[in-house]
């Protein structure tokens, strides 16, 4: 009898410990010399249970109308959380969208989302693909009903939020938590900055070229300044995508697109909002001699970038130092097997 009570007591203590442990707030670690994140963690404090729930949801095809597509379908970890091999990303029923899915990393520092900045907060981002007819094609209430009816999710939501009744707020906050921990800050570049290693001669030359020609938009250490720009792409008349102007309705925003991060750029091909370039060499070729002039072209690109062939090779050598293998193969970011 006594032993039985002890056992029950022990299980209870373990349960309480586990519960306490999984609901304890986790500090978001800002890499040394990085700016303050834009995300307000006070409104959605990170916990182990919420991150775990967000990870399950990120890989969950129930989020799409026909249970065929999850977030990871267009945001695959091994390719910097983007969709490779397709210029335009595709969703349910083989429907094809109008843009190339962006890579996902260091999102706590972003202030707008999507190529045109249509989404104003990381929490609200997942709502867009979930409900777009060419992407996951479902609606939020229906997704919640499916999750509520599953055996797994009411338990995971209860662990994370203390409530097994699923709400839109909780669903979106959990997904945001998983996305927030996708931090890439351990590329060779970062190790060089931390003085743990050094650039090769070629990489060093490339870094100098980068600082001269690229850094004003693709600003270190995030390799984006979070602004929008027209980088001289001739408009694709099959898409007629006006970018930021579609949101603001202002002519000055015609063909402006979000400046993407260059971190893990080796793996995030194809490049540009419509995935028109497959190779980094094509991208550089565009900046050197492919700039298409229009009223809203970035003034920094009017003359094109004066890079010789050798300089372009050095620049690419530097861009490859932005590859973060630890990030790309971090088991904490991959499909949750249990």
């Amino acid at each position: 009898m006594n032993r039985k009570i002890n056992l029950v007591g022990l299980v209870f203590v373990l349960f309480v410990c586990y519960g306490f442990h999984s609901s304890a707030t986790i500090d978001f670690l800002v890499p040394p010399n990085w700016p303050t994140p834009n995300y307000n963690f006070d409104k959605n404090p990170l916990t182990k249970a919420k991150i775990a729930l967000g990870r399950h949801l990120f890989y969950e095809p129930l989020l799409s109308r026909d249970t065929s597509i999850s977030c990871s379908s267009c945001h695959s970890q091994y390719t910097a959380f983007t969709h490779v091999d397709h210029d335009l990303s595709h969703g349910i029923d083989d429907r094809i969208g109008t843009r190339n899915s962006p890579s996902l990393m260091n999102l706590a520092w972003s202030n707008t989302f999507m190529w045109d900045g249509a989404v104003n907060h990381l929490d609200m981002q997942a709502l867009a693909p979930m409900t777009h007819e060419d992407e996951m094609g479902d609606d939020l209430l229906n997704v919640i009903q499916k999750l509520q009816a599953s055996s797994k999710y009411p338990i995971l939501f209860a662990k994370a939020f203390g409530d097994s009744i699923i709400t839109g707020e909780h669903l979106l906050k959990a997904i945001a938590q998983f996305e927030l921990i996708l931090v890439s800050a351990n590329a060779k570049y970062d190790q060089v900055m931390r003085k743990e290693t050094t650039f090769s001669v070629q990489e060093k030359s490339g870094y100098a070229l980068f600082q001269t020609h690229c850094n004003s938009c693709h600003q270190e250490p995030l390799f984006t300044n979070h602004q929008f720009a027209n980088n001289g792409l001739e408009i694709d008349t099959t898409l007629n995508d006006k970018g930021r102007m579609g949101i603001t309705k202002e002519a000055k925003d015609a063909q402006l697109f979000k400046i993407p991060t260059l971190r893990n750029v080796e793996f995030s091909y194809p490049y540009m909002h419509d995935g028109r370039f497959e190779q980094l060499s094509e991208v550089l070729n565009h900046y050197v001699k492919g700039i298409h002039k229009s009223a809203t072209l970035s003034p920094l690109l009017e003359e094109g970038l004066p890079l010789t062939h050798e300089e372009q090779i050095d620049l690419i050598a530097f861009l490859l130092t932005l590859t973060d293998k630890e990030f790309l193969f971090n088991p904490q970011f991959s499909f949750p097997r249990k």
Binding site: K43, N120, H121, M124, L141, G168, E169, K249
Partner: protein, 229 residues
Amino acid sequence: MKYWILIIFVLLLLVDVSGQERVLEIEFKAVYENAPLVLKSEVHQFQEKKIVFTRLKYYITNIELRLGEELVWKEKNSHHLIDLEKIETEKVVLDLPEKVHYDKISYQLGVDSLTNVSGAMGGDLDPTKGMYWAWNSGYINFKLEGVYEDCPTRKNKFQFHIGGYAGNMATVQKIEHGLTNERPIVIKVDVNQFLKELNLVEEHSLMRPSTKSVALAKRAALIFKRNDE
């Protein structure tokens, strides 16, 4: 002796409570001209053609009470989604502290810009409520949908989703009413007043922030009237 103190205390409490109205109720009554607005089942007339309403939803936020120009009370987390399909949402009940004297009430029609950029919210602001734009972030402040005989749209539907929070696309509107002793406070919302200057044959669908939305938001604010206004 002890009992006496207790009884006096309870009596004082009762007197105090009965002397102050601690609960203030506001009822939002949707009407079409002078008749109650009934969704789906009732056929109304608009410019001599049949019109049926299928949805009326809007946010009432930031409720404040004033005495003269002085702010005497404001509701915390003040966000109420009024949905004609859910009659329980038509009545907003405010819990006031003791001894608040006021002669004016003000509120906003729509969700303010700070809330619009603050991420996922719960309760009436949960994006499951069908009042959030996924592809151009922001709340829909006022939603009116229905069927009008002459609308050249699929199934003759019209839909006005009015929202937008940024810069010159901001649609949130402040509304203020002077108060009498009438309780609950009844606010009439006459949808006919909103539609009357529109040509539904040409203007029938509005589903994103625009200058037109701003103009219609201003008009929507004018249809909220206290009984004798």
